[in-house]
């Protein structure tokens, strides 16, 4: 892929995560390069959603390190090399670099589509209202919803809500985007419009980490497919390698169930 650089933008190293006694992630490491589209697949309960939620610290981790743009996420390295938990304010600042799109959209229901998009640029980045509005209208046009600017989320279909959510995340001008099963809560007829927006985003060179069950999307858009199983990264490779010649027996078992 011509647009890929060697520079890693997201680095996760040995991520361990447990809910009580239950080990969800058992030491997962992943590097994502700038401009790369990585698709995480795996059976439900394999830890893929938990893993991307750990990247922007929506989940605490028990062990491991996350670096975004070369800077440690959530922890500060002191001069003696020890790690200390970072302040709420710093963590919020670090999250700006990573956009996230959720399975259940999570639009703000008390705001219109346009207000959803300008909220964080104004409140967090300190943009002027005029500048934020200009950006927001452009982004709404880009996701094909210029005519829905004044609609509340209750007046939009699932696919439209998800496209607004993507525009909302893009308004922060993130370095990378995380997608947590973005089409799983959608009616079948609106899945395509969301995948189309994601595909265009990938073509424009956005760095993306996508958790999805849409194998067609993975095959077509991914630079790399990563297979998780029971909290472990069991296999990764190009879509052809994974879908045509899976090496790991558990990958084969999983693919035979979903394809």
């Amino acid at each position: 892929m011509a647009h890929l650089s060697e520079e890693p933008i997201i680095e996760a190293l040995g991520i361990h995560k447990a809910f009580g006694e239950l080990q969800i992630l058992k030491g997962i490491s992943l590097q994502v390069r700038r401009g790369e589209v990585v698709v995480l697949i795996g059976a439900s309960g394999s830890g893929k959603t938990t893993f991307i939620r750990c990247i922007n610290l929506l989940e605490d981790i028990q062990a491991g390190r996350i670096r975004v743009n070369g800077r440690a996420m959530g922890y500060r390295e002191r001069s003696d090399g020890r790690l200390v938990r970072d302040s709420e304010r710093n963590i919020a600042r670090q999250r700006r670099d990573i956009g996230m799109v959720f399975q259940r959209f999570n639009l703000f229901p008390h705001m219109t589509a346009l207000e959803n998009i300008i909220e964080a640029p104004i409140q967090v980045l300190g943009l002027s209202r005029a500048a934020a509005l200009e950006d927001a209208r452009r982004l709404l046009g880009r996701v094909g919803l210029a005519d829905k600017a004044d609609h509340y989320s209750s007046q939009l279909s699932g696919g439209q809500q998800q496209r607004v959510a993507i525009a909302r995340a893009l308004a922060m001008k993130p370095q990378a985007m995380l997608f947590d099963e973005p089409t799983s809560a959608l009616d079948p007829e609106t899945v395509g419009e969301v995948l189309q927006v994601m595909k265009e985003l990938a073509e424009e060179g956005m760095t993306m980490v996508v958790v999805t069950h849409e194998m067609g999307f993975a095959r077509e858009v991914a630079d790399r497919v990563v297979v998780l199983d029971q909290g472990e990264l069991i296999e990764q490779g190009t879509p052809e390698q994974i879908f045509s010649q899976p090496q790991h027996p558990r990958t084969r078992a999983f693919l035979s169930r979903v394809l």
Binding site: R93, R96, Y152, A169
Partner: protein, 255 residues
């Protein structure tokens, strides 16, 4: 029956200054106590939602104490018992252009403290009703706790808590009668004072009851207006039109 319509109409329609002062005091004490209660309730609710036990347990104790003792006892305790015990005495406060008597201060604080405990529970429930995904979306956009509370969570919680807050204020209007025991001359004590001079007990208590009905009814209209206003952005049709549809509603209205 010992009932004089003349006296009834006279006090209802041409209330004496004593009465008007009582009405004014009832309203002022209600509003100030409610404001104090809302502020305390918000702080207490946020503390209660914190995972830090040092913040959580004082609030639990406060709510337990305020809800477990009679309001009347709290009022007397704050004003009379604390002074008798030599712990704290409410002194008249000279604010330059008028003097705020000690017992009115005690009344507002006692009612506000009591209200705060109930408001804490209401606000906590309202905040709890906001979907967890809203926090995650706000966080992922880089908002700090303060911003996400102020801009995202509280506006949504507010919509849920407006109806119960309205009910609380209705109760507050009536609860102000309790502070008559510490000599605050609100509507009830004003009535008592007038009856002790005129002995027209039946007529005057009927008038005071009508005054309270009037206050709570006026408040009820305002409350309805508030609820409509705060549900507007949701763009949900009101229950009646969801049930009957727009055409049926037109027929029912006779047009």
């Amino acid at each position: 029956m010992n009932f004089s319509w003349d006296i009834f109409w006279q006090y209802l329609l041409q209330p004496s200054d004593v009465y008007l002062y009582g009405l004014w005091l009832t309203c002022v004490i209600s509003v100030l106590s409610m404001a104090l209660g809302c502020a305390l309730g918000l702080v207490a609710a946020l503390m209660r939602l914190s995972s830090n036990p040092l913040l959580q347990y004082p609030v639990r104790f406060y709510v337990w104490l305020m809800r477990g003792t009679p309001l009347l006892v709290q009022i007397v305790f704050l004003y009379t018992a604390l002074a008798a015990g030599g712990i704290f005495r409410f002194e008249d406060l000279d604010l330059g252009w008028f003097i705020l008597p000690g017992n009115i201060q005690a009344a507002i604080i006692a009612l506000g403290l009591n209200e705060g405990a109930y408001m804490a529970e209401i606000i906590r429930a309202g905040i709890g009703a906001v979907d967890k995904g809203q926090y995650e979306a706000s966080r992922s956009l880089g908002m700090t706790f303060g911003k996400l509370m102020r801009r995202i969570v509280l506006p949504q919680a507010f919509r849920v808590i407006v109806p119960p807050i309205g009910n609380e204020f209705n109760v507050m209007l009536k609860n102000t009668t309790l502070v008559s025991v510490i000599g605050v001359q609100e509507l009830l004590l004003s009535t008592q004072m007038v009856t002790s001079a005129t002995f027209r007990v039946f007529e005057l208590y009927l008038v005071v009851a009508i005054y309270f009905l009037l206050l709570t009814t006026l408040w009820g209209f305002f409350q309805r207006w508030l609820e409509i206003r705060f549900s507007q952005s949701e763009q949900h049709a009101p229950a009646s039109s969801r049930m009957f549809g727009r055409q049926a509603m037109k027929l029912l209205r006779g047009r």
